[in-house]
């Protein structure tokens, strides 16, 4: 995905991840708070229960003797409180405001009604926060009923310790949950966007000529996008095929009248008697040949440029390709009594390349050789396999003159010694571009007047 568009909005992936992470953070915080509140309450209730039990145990041990309220403090009542931590325990047993035993200044949490449950309160006592419970217990002293208040208080160190431990655990769990959820949100965003990536890949990997409909596994949400994409591809296909048809049609429209003119010119040429008329007619025919040849090579060159980008590789046999090209051009060579000698070893020369391009290159090289060779000569087409494949066309023509050696493959460049021959100068350019497109090169060995050897060098796999 390229990020060149000016109006590029934030990526769906980061938005998705951020949203999921935010939800995870909120959930983690809520979890933390709930755990803390519940745990604190549970710890508090536990303490309250123990305090109440302790106070009740003390109250149960009250009795009256000689008109007095007496108490034999049950040791267990205190020990059940003091086991866990370093908390300090205070108690006070008081009847009608008078302390019977314990800490006289320990405040009594008055229950609303006598006989109701234990009353709890929290206050500071001797510089420390304590939790206190008061249990009212009526004791019969003689004929009197005396309400005795038993108060037990405990510092909250243990509670604080439990609370902080629970907070620690809750924090760890919440952070852990947040991290796992964030990681999961990355994964979820990834997997949610995977079909989009697949779609991107399947479109990006196509060659420029591949205009089939896109068919990948698509989730329902992407179906409209796929539909739109395929419709667009269909439109593109139609427009491309229309322009292809147009070129074909145009070529047809131009070449058919050109063929008529040429045929008529040949017939007329036969009937003409005067040498100057015949010469004029011959020049006309040559001009027709030149223009149609140039048009053909321009189309070929355009095709090479177009196909070179598309990298359409197929397995083919270079030896067979060279043989085919020789056979195709044999009648043309025959017209000049030129023999094409094939020096091609038995056996295949497997190569992965673009058949049409390679064919075009070989055709152009051989066609050039035929054109520039004098009649009654021979052209040797040879194929060699080694570190690289070497397809060579050697002729006995006029060769390239020294000054042309710079670059006979340059577009529209023609040798300085060929003014008398019809040509556009694109033949070797095409061959050179095809060779380079296949990771090879075009080699030209030539002595002026002694013929040339043009080789297509292609890397062996």
């Amino acid at each position: 995905m390229s990020g060149r568009g000016a109006a590029r909005s934030r990526s769906i992936r980061s938005r998705l991840v951020l949203q999921l992470a935010a939800v995870a953070a909120i959930l983690s915080l809520a979890f933390f708070l709930i755990v803390r509140v519940v745990a604190d309450r549970a710890a508090g209730e536990t303490q309250d229960n123990i305090l109440a039990a302790s106070a009740t145990a003390i109250a149960d041990a009250l009795y009256s003797v000689e008109g007095q309220v007496a108490l034999e403090l049950p040791y267990s009542a205190i020990s059940m409180l003091g086991t866990i931590s370093e908390d300090r325990v205070f108690y006070r047993v008081a009847a009608a405001g008078e302390t019977i035993t314990g800490y006289g200044d320990l405040p009594i949490a008055e229950p609303q009604r006598p006989g109701a449950g234990p009353a709890f309160s929290t206050y500071d006592y001797r510089g420390e926060a304590v939790r206190a419970v008061t249990v009212m217990r009526p004791v019969s002293v003689g004929a009197r009923r005396l309400d005795v208040a038993v108060t037990v208080a405990q510092t909250q160190l243990g509670l604080a310790a439990i609370s902080s431990r629970i907070t620690g655990i809750a924090t760890a769990i919440a952070v852990g949950f947040f991290l796992v959820a964030t990681a999961l949100s990355f994964w979820a965003a990834q997997s949610a966007l995977a079909p989009l990536d697949r779609l991107t890949q399947s479109v990006a990997r196509r060659g420029p000529n591949d205009l089939r409909d896109v068919v990948t596994d698509t989730p329902t949400e992407l179906v409209p996008l796929m539909g739109a994409l395929n419709k667009f591809i269909a439109r593109l296909r139609t427009s491309l095929s229309r322009s292809e048809d147009l070129i074909t049609e145009a070529a047809h429209r131009v070449r058919t009248p050109l063929a008529t003119v040429r045929a008529q010119a040949e017939v007329t040429h036969h009937r003409l008697q005067k040498p100057e008329h015949r010469k004029a007619m011959r020049e006309m025919i040559r001009a027709i040949d030149e223009s149609s040849r140039s048009a053909g090579q321009l189309l070929d060159h355009a095709m090479v440029t177009f196909r070179a980008d598309s990298q359409e590789r197929a397995d083919l046999d270079l030896a067979e390709l060279l043989r085919e090209t020789c056979e195709r051009l044999a009648p043309t060579a025959d017209l000049k009594d030129i023999d094409i000698v094939q020096d091609i070893p038995e056996g295949a020369m497997p190569f992965a390349g673009d058949r049409v391009l390679l064919q075009s290159a070989l055709h152009n090289i051989l066609d050039n050789a035929i054109k520039y060779s004098p009649p009654d000569t021979r052209i040797t087409a040879s194929a060699r396999a080694g570190a690289q494949f070497e397809l060579s066309i050697a002729d006995n023509g006029r060769g390239f003159s020294a000054s042309d050696h710079d670059d006979p493959t340059a577009r529209f460049s023609r040798g300085s010694n060929v003014a008398d021959i019809v040509g556009s100068g694109l033949g070797l350019t095409i061959a050179d571009e095809v060779a380079r497109n296949h990771g090879g090169a075009l080699r030209i060995v030539s002595e002026e007047g002694e013929g040339a050897c043009v080789s297509l060098l292609l890397p062996a796999a």
């Binding site: 074909t248 070529a251 047809h252 131009v254 070449r255 058919t256 009248p257 050109l258 063929a259 008529t260 003119v261 040429r262 045929a263 008529q264 040949e266 017939v267 040429h269 036969h270 015949r278 011959r282 025919i285 040559r286 027709i288 040949d289 149609s292 048009a295 053909g296 090579q297 189309l299 070929d300 095709m303 195709r328 044999a330 009648p331 043309t332 025959d334 017209l335 000049k336 009594d337 058949r355 049409v356 064919q359 075009s360 055709h363 009649p375 009654d376 008398d420 021959i421 019809v422």
Partner: protein, 222 residues
């Protein structure tokens, strides 16, 4: 030889018919695929020249049908496309060869000859004069000495003479038949080729006579 030309452009068809007639070929012309089908059902042709774009369909479908019906008549496609782009498809469909418009008639003839030769040639393409027999398809000349292969230009020159024994052909006329328009050759070049075929006819009772100031003709040895 007898050709069937399937081509929708009337003017091009007429020009091709005229041009092939100069070489002594009989050409029937069909402007549509239907007309072409009608022609091949009533007459035998040595070769079919087929245009691809026709008013009532694609020449390729004709080609496919022609091959499906196992007709052996060779087909050369006249295409308006570029050199190579169409080639694979055409040859796969069963065309024997193709030629790009506009074309050189000597090249067309060379291709026709090559196609007929590949097909195994028919005896109908033999012409004889005296005790010499010229086989155009095989490209051979048979005399008392035996059968000899001919170079392309020798063959074409002999075809001219064997086509009209006794007729005088000017050097200019022979040059037209032998050299393409892009070849710049002097009239003397023709003497080289006449010399060669004289050598090949040496063992027969046939010879090429020089008619001073007019040209050459084929005659029996007195």
């Amino acid at each position: 030889m007898r050709f069937l030309l399937v081509e929708d452009s009337e003017t091009l068809a007429r020009a091709i018919v005229d041009r092939l007639a100069l070489d002594g070929h009989a050409v029937d012309h069909a402007g549509t695929l239907d007309a072409a089908q009608a022609s091949i059902s009533v007459a035998d042709y040595d070769l079919i020249l087929l245009d691809i774009m026709l008013p009532d369909g694609d020449g390729r479908s004709f080609l496919a049908q022609h091959r499906k019906a196992r007709k052996r008549t060779p087909v050369i496609v006249l295409t308006a496309r570029s050199e190579v782009s169409d080639r694979v498809g055409l040859l796969d469909l069963g065309a024997d060869d193709y030629i790009t418009k506009p074309f050189d008639f000597s090249e067309l003839q060379a291709r026709c000859r090559a196609v007929l030769r590949r097909q195994g040639g028919s005896a109908a393409n033999q012409t004889s004069f005296g005790d010499a027999v010229l086989d155009s398809t095989a490209g051979t000349l048979t005399t008392a000495r035996g059968t000899e292969d001919l170079r392309n230009r020798e063959l074409r020159l002999l075809e001219v003479f064997f086509g009209a024994p006794g007729q005088i052909f000017s050097k200019t006329h022979l040059m037209d038949r032998l050299f393409s328009f892009s070849d710049d050759v002097s009239e003397n070049a023709i003497e080289v080729y006449v010399g060669r075929i004289r050598k090949k006819l040496g063992a027969s009772n046939v010879r090429i006579e020089t008619v001073r100031g007019l040209g050459y003709r084929l005659a029996s040895r007195a």
